[in-house]
C-alpha cells in the first residue's frame, strides 16, 4: 500500500472490499455516512453503517410517473440512477425547528436554539446532484444573506461523488451540461469498474480532506488503462440519456411564451400536488410556521419545505396571486429554465429527471419545453 498522502487531482484505484474501509474511515472521523440503500421499493439516501447496506446488485427503471427497482445480473454498487429524493433533505431539512420561546412577563425568552447538526459524509453524489448542491450553495449561502442552517450542514459535509456509468430513462444531465462526469466540488469521486473478473473503483482526489481519507484506505495508483476504462464507462452513460432538452435560448423561449396554449394543456394534467418541487434537488422554497401551545406560554418557530404549487405560497394581503394551476406550472417551469438564469446566473434545472419520474400526473418537463418550442418556432 502506498503510504504517502495522495495529492489533490490524482487518481487511485480501490478494490470493492476497500469500499468498506472507506465507510469505516469516514465513520471514524465522526461523519454520519449517508448513502444509497434499498428501502420501500426504491434506492433512497439513508444512513449507511456497512457496505451491505448499499444497493449491491440493484438497479432501477424510470419513466414518466414510474419507478421500479430491478435486480441486476452483476454486483454493481452504483449502477442505479438517482432515487426519489437526494441530499437536499440533509442539507436543507424538510421540517426544521428554528427556535423555541417562552413568555416572560411582557417580553419573551428564547429557550434553546436547535442543536448543531451532524457532520455528514454523502456517499454516491452524482454529477447532477453535485451541480444541484452548487446551485443551492449559490442561493442559500452565496450572497449577502446566508442561511445558517444550510451553512452549518454544508460546510461540514464530506462529499464522495460517483460518476454515472449507467443513465436512466428520465435523465438529461448531458442537455443541462451538468453530467454524467462530476465537475468540481467533491472530496473524492469514484468511477465503478466492473467486469472481466474485476470489481474496483477509480478514485479521484478532490480535496485535502479527501486525500487524507483515501490515505486510510487500501489503494494503488491508477494506471493508464484504469483511467481509460473509467472515461469509457462514463462516456457510455452519456450516450444513454433517456431524455433530452434543447437548453439553448430556453430562457428567451419561455419568457416569450407567457400566453402559449400549452400552459392550459399541462394545467389540465397537473395535480398541483407539489411532488415535482419537493423531489427537485434545487428547489429551495420554505414557509415559516409559528406555533403557540394551549397555555399561550410557549411558542415555536418551524421552517418547512413549501412549494409554488400551493395556495399559501403566493398568499399576500388580499389573497393568493397564483390561483390557477396554469399560473403555478408556468411559474415553476419559467423560474427553473429562465428567471433563475437572471437571478443566479445558471439554469435551475440540473437534468436529474426526478420531476419526471415522481410526477403522479406523468408530466415531463422536457416534453413541455419541446411543445412550447415546437409551436413557437416551427423551424
Amino acid at each position: 500500500m502506498d503510504t504517502t498522502l495522495p495529492s489533490v487531482g490524482s487518481q487511485a484505484v480501490i478494490d470493492f472490499p476497500a469500499l468498506s474501509a472507506l465507510v469505516s474511515a469516514l465513520r471514524r472521523r465522526g461523519y454520519q455516512v449517508i448513502g444509497p440503500t434499498v428501502r420501500d421499493g426504491a434506492i433512497t439516501c439513508d444512513a449507511i453503517e456497512k457496505i451491505e447496506d448499499l444497493p449491491i446488485g440493484w438497479g432501477d427503471e424510470q419513466e414518466s410517473g414510474r419507478y421500479r427497482l430491478k435486480k441486476r445480473d452483476d454486483s454493481a454498487v452504483f449502477a442505479y440512477t438517482v432515487g426519489p429524493q437526494g441530499w437536499k433533505r440533509y442539507l436543507h431539512p424538510p421540517e426544521l425547528p428554528m427556535f423555541e420561546g417562552k413568555r416572560d412577563g411582557e417580553a419573551f425568552q428564547i429557550l434553546r436554539n436547535p442543536p448543531s447538526p451532524p457532520q455528514y459524509a454523502f456517499l454516491g453524489v452524482r454529477a447532477c446532484e453535485l451541480a444541484a448542491i452548487r446551485l443551492q450553495d449559490r442561493v442559500l449561502i452565496g450572497d449577502r444573506y446566508r442561511d445558517p442552517a444550510y451553512q452549518a450542514r454544508r460546510e461540514g459535509a464530506f462529499l464522495v461523488a460517483v460518476n454515472c456509468t449507467q443513465a436512466g430513462g428520465t435523465c438529461f444531465c448531458v442537455s443541462m451540461g451538468t453530467g454524467p462526469r462530476v465537475g468540481a466540488g467533491f472530496d473524492l469521486a469514484l468511477t465503478e469498474l466492473l467486469g472481466a473478473g474485476q470489481h474496483s473503483f477509480v478514485v479521484e482526489v478532490g480535496s485535502k480532506t479527501g486525500a487524507a481519507v483515501l490515505a486510510e484506505v487500501e489503494h494503488r495508483k491508477a494506471r493508464k488503462e484504469d483511467v481509460k476504462a473509467a472515461v469509457a464507462a462514463v462516456d457510455a452513460a452519456a450516450s444513454q440519456m433517456g431524455r433530452s432538452v434543447d437548453a439553448k435560448e430556453v430562457r428567451d423561449l419561455l419568457f416569450d411564451n407567457f400566453d402559449h396554449p400549452r400552459w392550459d394543456r399541462v394545467a389540465a394534467r397537473c395535480l398541483s400536488c407539489a411532488n415535482c418541487t419537493l423531489v427537485c434537488p434545487t428547489c429551495f422554497c420554505t414557509t415559516v410556521e409559528d406555533i403557540t401551545d394551549i397555555t399561550g406560554e410557549h411558542a415555536e418557530r418551524w421552517r418547512k419545505w413549501d412549494s409554488c404549487f400551493t395556495d399559501g405560497f403566493s398568499y399576500i394581503h388580499g389573497g393568493s396571486i397564483r390561483l390557477s394551476v396554469k399560473s403555478r406550472y408556468r411559474q415553476w417551469l419559467t423560474h427553473k429554465f429562465a428567471a433563475w438564469v437572471d437571478q443566479f446566473g445558471a439554469h435551475g434545472c440540473v437534468g436529474c429527471g426526478r420531476c419526471i419520474t415522481w410526477c403522479p400526473g406523468r408530466i415531463d418537463v422536457t416534453e413541455e419545453i419541446r411543445e412550447i418550442r415546437g409551436v413557437a418556432s416551427p423551424a
Binding site: G41, A42, A274, N275, P360, R362
Partner: protein, 262 residues
C-alpha cells in the same frame, strides 16, 4: 391570557349524525387534556360531563351531519348560541360516509333495517353543516387529528391563524421521506387530491390514501381519474374510491359521478 379565568372561553360540543370519534379526540388529547381544561371552560359536552351550562357559547364544536328534520332545526339553535362555530370531522364538513344515502333510496334502507319503519323519520340526504348554517372553520378528517383540534383552540385563544394545512397529502409524504407508493409500486393513492392532515399514515404503511381528509385546496380530480385508469382501475373502482367519508364534498362527488357515467 391563559391564567386569567375571566377570559376562559366557554366551549360546547354538539353531536349530530356521527360515530362520536371526532369529539372523543378531545378526550384522547391525554397529554394536553389538563392544559386544555385549564385554558377553556367546557360548558356543554354530554359525552364527557354531566355539567351542562346554558349558552351562549364562545366556541361551538359541531360533529356529525344533518340527517333528520329535528337536527335541521337543532343546528339553527346551535348556531344562534355560538359565537364561533367549528365543524369537526368528515360528517360535519362533508356529510360523512352516511352521505352515500344521497345516491340511494334511504326509505328502502329504513324498510330493510328497522322492524318498525314507521317510527323512523329521516331526511333523504345527509348533508354537511355548512349547507344549513354559516361555519367559521372546518376541521377535516375521519376522524380529525387531535393535534389539529388543539392547534385550532390554541390559535383561537391567542388570535392567530391556525396552522392547518390545505395542500396535498403528497407534501407530507415528501417531507417525511416516504417513497411514493404510486410511482414505485403502482399502488392507486388519492394523496395528490387529498388534504394533508393525517401524517400520511396509510402511504407510510404501503396503502394508498383513502381520502379521509377530503379534497385538497386545488384538487384536480379529473387528472387523478386519468392516472387511476392508467394504473388499471376500473370506472367502478374509481367511483368507489372517491365515494367514501368525503363522498359528498363537491369535488369528490363530481369525480365519482363522472367515473360512474363513463
Amino acid at each position: 391570557m391563559s391564567s386569567n379565568n375571566k377570559t376562559k372561553p366557554k366551549v360546547a360540543v354538539f353531536k349530530f349524525a356521527s360515530c362520536d370519534g371526532c369529539q372523543l379526540s378531545l378526550l384522547d388529547a391525554e397529554d394536553e387534556l389538563l392544559a386544555v381544561a385549564g385554558a377553556i371552560d367546557i360548558a356543554y359536552f354530554p359525552e364527557a360531563t354531566r355539567t351542562m351550562l346554558k349558552g351562549p357559547y364562545d366556541i361551538g364544536l359541531v360533529e356529525g351531519s344533518i340527517t333528520t328534520h329535528h337536527d335541521a332545526e337543532r343546528i339553527q339553535q346551535v348556531r344562534r348560541q355560538c359565537t364561533v362555530l367549528v365543524t369537526i370531522g368528515a360528517c360535519a364538513t362533508a356529510g360523512g360516509i352516511q352521505a352515500l344515502r344521497n345516491w340511494a333510496d334511504s326509505q328502502e334502507y329504513v324498510r330493510t333495517i328497522y322492524a318498525q319503519p314507521d317510527f323512523i323519520q329521516t331526511l333523504k340526504m345527509s348533508t354537511p353543516i355548512a349547507e344549513h348554517v354559516p361555519v367559521d372553520f372546518e376541521l377535516r378528517g375521519c376522524p380529525i387529528n387531535k393535534k389539529h383540534l388543539i392547534e385550532l383552540i390554541s390559535a383561537m385563544l391567542v388570535g392567530r391563524k391556525p396552522n392547518i394545512p390545505t395542500h396535498s397529502l403528497c407534501m407530507k409524504c415528501k417531507r417525511s421521506g416516504n417513497v411514493c407508493i404510486t410511482i414505485a409500486r403502482g399502488v392507486p393513492c388519492l394523496g395528490p387530491v387529498t388534504q394533508s392532515g393525517c401524517g400520511a399514515l396509510c402511504p407510510r404503511f404501503g396503502r394508498g390514501c383513502f381520502g379521509c381528509y377530503g379534497p385538497m385546496e386545488s384538487a384536480n380530480t379529473a387528472a387523478m381519474t386519468t392516472q387511476l385508469r392508467l394504473l388499471g382501475q376500473s370506472d367502478e373502482e374509481i367511483a368507489r374510491a372517491f365515494r367514501s367519508f368525503n363522498a359528498w364534498s363537491w369535488q369528490f362527488r363530481q369525480a365519482s359521478e363522472e367515473a360512474e357515467r363513463a
